[in-house]
Amino acid sequence: MTRIVIFGATSAIAQAAARQWAAAGGACFVLVGRNETALGDIAADLTARGAEDVIAKPADLAVLDGLSRLCAEAEEALGGIDIALIAHGVLPDQVEVTASADNLLENLGVNALSPAALMVEFGRLMKDRGHGSLVVISSVAGDRGRPSNWAYGGAKAMLSVMGEGMGLELDSAGVNVVVVKPGFVDTPMTADFPKGPLWASADQVAGAIVRAVGKRRNGVIYAPAWWRFVMLIVRFAPAFIVRRL
């Protein structure tokens, strides 16, 4: 049996990953997200696809106070955690989010602090048990500050660095940490963007996640994998080029 907790379970990438785990058989889930109806629908879908048990836990992950308790409850409900997928986040409008300090802090609360708090909790918990895979969805946007989305990118950069470091620390304790950096993904989050050949589906990204967890990979994965080379170039590009991206 595989015991899986997913935060931001209504996100397209999280749903696609959950479906693949459910279809593989023997999976039990705790799904955390804001929209209770949507969680119920996803629970039914995963059950139909072969999940053994699905528990929906509606919660607002922007509320930082309750996160520790939420982790404890998830572990208790499943009798242990094999995989924790931290997938929540919002893609903010850069102008709006940088219009005031309050706006920025609110956004960092959801995109950086909340996932970071969950990473710390599960890192500790899994280290104590000597077992577990911690997966956090970061982004290629965290690899380089760009003029159009540095607020979002900054939050993701924090998750990437923390996850990478945690992975190195916890490796010897039997815990692997996968930092997932998707490129452009065709999801409701990006519904308004014009799509081109660089775009991947949520299914493809989820496939990369499920494979990485299956192989107990530790460290950063790009999804699709060729983004590693794109971002290698972007990271070394001079500022006058990055300004245009």
């Binding site: 279809a23 109806t37 629908d41 996803i42 039914a44 879908d45 139909a48 696809r49 065709d186 409701p188 519904a191 014009p194 799509k195 775009w199 589906s201």
Partner: protein, 436 residues
């Protein structure tokens, strides 16, 4: 995902469409100005999936299963689920869809709206015949549960209703058990239409799946030559799911159609001669047998930038031989057509759908690359033969039939029109049902 919405035949062009993703099956999205139409996976050939000047409500985001009862063999799902996803789920558990069309890449909503059929029509009827019930969202804000017993008139109008009666929101399907994902049967080479009809009649009682390929260019005493395939679900072989890799794809649209008079004649002759003996026994996985073209992604691009028209007609049983012969003569004389020809007989299992296409008789389906006026003129001549025989054309494939042809083919049209949701329209509806 492409942002411009074409039909599978890529004709007609519909450049002025807005598209909105429908994400909440419990509510119809906010409707702006102009008519709306649900759009699934865009596999219908003509303009039933187009809404030029209006809004398409895309359903592919609604791809959740709601309940799979593996004991009773029932499945409840959202309308944007692909038949392919359903088969992946149910085949390993020993279940199958009673009716599948020639591609598994269609949505459940689209399969109901076009009341699609398959090679086993004489056993299981149409897709809609096997729908137990569904929820229908109407633009007046109501959500209606529709079945043979409840809101029966809307149920019967929505099956084959081309998406014009509202949004199909939750669907409950009856499944059928299988012991294996393999099919076994025979493939016959036949030389004449009479031989085809003899094979078809002789196989209906014994075989679930029957269909034939016909060489549409053969003339004279070779008229109507082809291969006839029949099969049943096997009793053994395991329930392995389909191989889902896409090894082949047409990567781009060639500047001209690759299907020409010469290439067609060469292909058809080689294909016909491929089987040297009269009868071969064979065993297939259901996937290549039922969905041969799904292994070539974007095959519709082969017809070039002008696109193609698929022509599918049915002629009633008593006229079937004479009318089929006339149709094939007209086609072979024109030299137009394509290698993709399906000829089969329908049985008399009745669909509940008012605008359902199948009727007891013979159905011919084939593609025509658009070569300009002469292609449209040929199809008008074919219409004449079909109308004379009391037959009709399949709306899901059509982009050009006349109002008269449509009205003549579908006698329940007046009854259907009363059930149309006033907010819903399609290119097809404006073209042939405009006289409301």
């Amino acid at each position: 995902m492409s942002n411009d919405f074409q039909s599978w035949g890529r004709f007609p062009a519909a450049p002025h469409q807005k598209a909105v993703a429908w994400r909440d099956r419990r509510h119809m999205p906010m409707l702006g100005d102009g008519p709306v139409l649900a759009r699934g996976n865009g596999r219908s050939y003509g303009d039933v999936c187009l809404n030029d000047g209006g809004t398409l409500l895309t359903t592919r985001a609604l791809d959740k299963f709601i309940l799979f009862d593996a004991e009773a063999g029932e499945l409840v799902c959202e309308p944007g689920v692909l038949l392919s996803d359903i088969l992946d789920l149910i085949v390993p558990k020993g279940w199958f869809l009673p009716v599948v069309p020639g591609t598994r890449l269609v949505t459940v909503g689209g399969a109901i709206a076009n009341d699609v059929h398959g090679k086993n029509h004489h056993r299981f009827g149409t897709f809609g015949t096997n729908v137990l019930d569904f929820r229908l969202l109407r633009s007046d804000g109501t959500a209606l549960s529709c079945s043979r017993d409840e809101n029966a008139e809307l149920f019967t109008a929505t099956i084959g209703g081309l998406g014009l009666t509202g949004l199909i929101a939750e669907v409950r399907l009856k499944l059928r058990p299988i012991a294996s994902s393999y099919l076994e049967g025979e493939q016959f080479r036949f030389d004449t239409l009479d031989e085809f009809f003899a094979l078809s009649e002789g196989s209906e009682a014994s075989h679930e799946y029957t269909a034939a390929w016909i060489d549409c260019l053969a003339e004279g005493d070779r008229l109507g030559r082809g291969h006839f395939m029949r099969a049943n679900h096997a009793a053994d072989g395991g329930l392995d799911p389909a191989t889902r890799s896409l090894p082949l794809a047409v990567p781009l649209t060639p500047p001209l159609s690759l299907v020409t008079r010469v290439s067609l004649r060469v292909f058809n002759t080689l294909y016909y001669e491929r089987q040297r003996v009269h009868e071969v026994s064979r065993r297939w996985h259901f996937d290549p047998y039922l969905f041969p073209l799904d292994s070539i992604a974007n095959w519709n691009r082969l017809y070039g930038p002008k696109g193609f028209l698929q022509y599918q007609c049915v002629v009633p049983d008593n006229e079937a031989r004479a009318a089929s012969a006339e149709l094939l003569k007209e086609i072979s004389r024109s030299g137009q057509g394509s290698p993709l020809v399906v000829f089969k007989t329908f049985g008399d299992v009745a669909s509940p759908g008012l605008l359902s296409f199948p009727m007891k008789g013979a159905t011919l389906a084939l593609d025509f690359p658009i070569l300009g006026k002469r292609t449209f003129e040929l199809l008008d001549r074919l219409d004449g033969i079909v109308a004379e025989a009391g037959g009709r054309l399949y709306p899901a494939k059509d982009a050009r039939m006349s109002v008269e042809m449509f009205e003549k083919g579908f006698p329940a049209l007046d009854r259907f029109m009363k059930q149309i949701d006033p907010a819903f329209e399609s290119g097809f509806q404006r073209r042939v049902m405009g006289r409301a």
